[in-house]
């Protein structure tokens, strides 16, 4: 049999675990409630994704961008939208460029990677220097696809890049 101190220690540990179980139930309760609500209303599986405006926009974009095409996505990695759009638009080749990137870098990427599309994450924000320069060029044409961001068709062979900025 267990000696006294060992039995006490085991009981303390079991009591702590009991408290832990209660805390776990409390911690996961909001997720469990959402799960129960969705099961009740039948909004599960693919229907959950329909609630994401990025998914809906990506679905429209994927109807326009061919599966073997490449696109440049202008955003910061930390925002987390880059991985979402990369997943939704897979297997299209995805290249991330920061909004602060200079024109030379953006032009170089578009030209070298033969990226036929340019996607800017936030259409409400003023574009960075690279995108501004691209818009001033004759090689970029906006696509009329409503959504949280703005997509452009790119004639990448027209881009001449170099260390001029």
């Amino acid at each position: 049999m267990l000696s006294n101190w060992k039995a006490h220690l085991t009981r303390i540990l079991l009591a702590l675990w009991g408290l832990q179980l209660i805390w776990l139930a409390w911690h996961f309760a909001p997720e469990a409630r959402d799960l129960a609500r969705r099961i009740g209303s039948g909004e599960v599986g693919a229907a959950v994704r329909q609630e994401d405006p990025w998914y809906l926009w990506s679905a429209s974009l994927s109807a326009v961008i061919p599966p073997d095409a490449a696109y440049v996505f202008v955003d910061n990695y930390e925002a987390g939208k880059d991985i979402k759009i990369g997943y939704y638009l897979a297997p299209r080749r995805h290249l991330l460029v920061s909004p602060q990137s200079p024109a030379a870098f953006l032009f170089h990427t578009l030209h070298e990677e033969q990226a036929a599309y340019l996607i800017v994450r936030d259409r409400a924000k003023p574009p960075g220097p690279g995108v501004q320069a691209a818009l001033r060029s004759q090689a970029v044409l906006p696509l009329k696809i409503p959504g949280p961001g703005q997509a452009y068709r790119v004639d990448y062979p027209l881009f001449h890049w170099g260390f001029y900025d």
């Binding site: 267990l2 060992k6 220690l9 085991t10 540990l13 702590l16 675990w17 832990q20 179980l21 805390w23 776990l24 911690h27 996961f28 997720e31 469990a32 799960l35 969705r38 099961i39 599960v44 599986g45 693919a46 959950v48 994704r49 599966p67 490449a70 987390g80 991985i83 979402k84 990369g86 997943y87 897979a90 297997p91 299209r92 080749r93 995805h94 290249l95 991330l96």
Partner: protein, 475 residues
């Protein structure tokens, strides 16, 4: 109706994996019935997953486009051939008999509470995994994205993925195999793989705990204690990360090698451990070094304890080493053939301030109930309970493996090339997952501590296997 049909196809795909692994077990184990049905199920799934995904890698190498027939046909053919051998036939007929007359569980008192807690957890985890689309960061950035690309491009196409191309591909290939079974990319149903993997991990832990000599109640309690302690394990049951599969393979390899060292392993356990080490190496980038530490800990334990036939036993460890090579080399050769860039940026310099910071974070993660509840403090108590037996029994193997890897985590953070501002978030994003790889093996050590707490050493131990056991603790 469509979802019900898809669910059936998913279950069929998972059953085919178990069938493949079961055939493999019939081939490598002299007497598969020495393993309990739950153990065989848990071990079959992992073995089948390793074999099938390596086969998919071989298909890509040969330039053959993926298709369900080409993926599954030859694999199931091999499994069927293995079942036709006398050993395979015996195993199969035994399993069919057991299925026809299943034993009643006969749970009592606390058993019901533990089983009820586990059932509630898995009901929640299965629904949470299979009714929500893939959503977690690494799931859509890496594992799920690769799986989708592999399925759509019918091969291991890495041209449209710009990060982490060098990561091993067991999990993405397995998910893409499930997409072939489902006939389309259905990431919410395929996510059902992860609660299943968690359940098999727990089944394995329960079986290993029973082999350590714990009663059914204690083994069930230990299993529930691992599953329902902190949030990390629970969350990994319903996100498509490779960390839970790595924890499963690690537990299998560590548990089987521990039993082999203790002379309690069924025959053929080292071959199975080799398959699980292959799974570790093929599952995640951290897998090969982790697998190497399993073998290193076994070598050090044998060198320290010097049981009869030490050299012969040391030579036997070449089998697990071959398993590690089986999981590691094919992918490395593929990487060099395809000229894929390796993640060499992981090691640059040694930063002492990061070591100090990482030590504080590690301590906090081990004791903060949010991550793993009270499991790691309980493991510390278990080490105290093992006491001096640590130096005279194979318990040393578990402590060396766990302690060595905790030190390795600190060392890895000390050489991580991150800025001072970025370092805390880098640790926060990875430490819980690194600990998850070790936690089920730590629960095994806790089980050993429980055994020593409950009874005097040496009494009621399971019957020894035909192998030579290591010295029993001094009385």
């Amino acid at each position: 109706m469509i979802e019900a049909l898809s669910l059936l196809r998913l279950l069929g795909g998972l059953a085919a994996l178990c069938c493949l692994g079961s055939g493999l077990l019939a081939a490598v184990l002299p007497q598969p019935r020495e393993f309990r049905p739950l153990e065989r199920l848990a071990l079959s799934f992992g073995s089948g997953a390793v074999l099938l995904t390596l086969w998919m890698l071989a298909l890509t190498w040969r330039g053959l486009p993926f298709g369900l027939g080409l993926i599954l046909g030859p694999s199931l053919g091999v499994a069927a051939a293995l079942f036709l051998t006398p050993r395979g036939r015996r195993a199969l007929s035994g399993d069919l008999r057991a299925l026809a007359w299943p034993r009643r569980p006969g749970l009592q008192g606390w058993d019901w509470l533990f089983a009820g807690l586990l059932a509630t957890l898995f009901l929640y985890a299965c629904l949470r995994a299979a009714l929500y689309p893939m959503w977690a960061w690494d799931a859509i950035a890496t594992w799920g994205c690769k799986a989708k690309v592999f399925y759509l491009s019918r091969g291991l196409d890495l041209t449209c993925i710009d990060a982490h191309n060098y990561y091993p591909n067991l999990v993405p290939l397995l998910l893409s195999y499930l997409y072939y079974c489902l006939g389309r990319v259905n990431d919410h149903l395929a996510q059902g793989l992860f609660p299943l993997w968690g359940a098999l991990l727990l089944g394995l832990l329960y079986s290993l705990a029973r082999r350590l000599g714990l009663s059914r109640r204690l083994a069930l309690g230990l299993t529930a204690f691992l599953a329902l302690n902190g949030t990390v394990f629970v969350v990994h049951l319903y996100i498509a990360y490779a960390d839970l599969p790595l924890a499963y393979f690690t537990l299998g390899a560590v548990g089987l090698i521990y039993l082999w060292l203790a002379g309690q392993a069924p025959r053929g356990s080292l071959s199975l451990a080799a398959l699980f080490l292959a799974g570790m190496a093929w599952c995640k980038y951290e897998g090969p070094p982790l697998a190497a530490t399993v073998i290193l800990a076994a070598v050090l334990t044998l060198a320290w304890l010097r049981p009869p036939g030490t050299w012969r036993r040391l030579c036997s460890l070449s089998l697990p080493l071959a398993g590690l090579a089986l999981g590691y080399l094919p992918w490395r050769l593929f990487i060099s053939q395809q000229h894929l860039a390796l993640g060499a940026d992981h090691i640059q310099n040694f930063y002492p301030q990061q070591l100090a910071q990482a030590s504080a974070y590690l301590m906090a993660a081990l004791i903060r109930p949010y991550f793993f509840g009270f499991l790691w403090p309980a493991v510390l108590l278990a080490v105290i309970a093992v006491g001096r037996r640590l130096w005279t029994t194979p318990a040393l193997f578990l402590v060396l493996f766990l302690g060595g890897n905790l030190l390795a985590i600190l060392l890895a953070y000390a050489v991580a090339p991150t800025s001072a501002a970025e370092f805390p978030s880098y640790v926060r994003a990875s430490l819980d997952r690194l600990l998850l790889h070790l936690t089920p093996s730590a629960a095994l050590l806790l089980g050993l501590g429980l055994k020593y707490l409950r009874r005097a050493p040496g009494t009621n131990d399971p019957p020894p296997s035909p192998q030579t056991p290591l010295p029993t603790p001094a009385k």
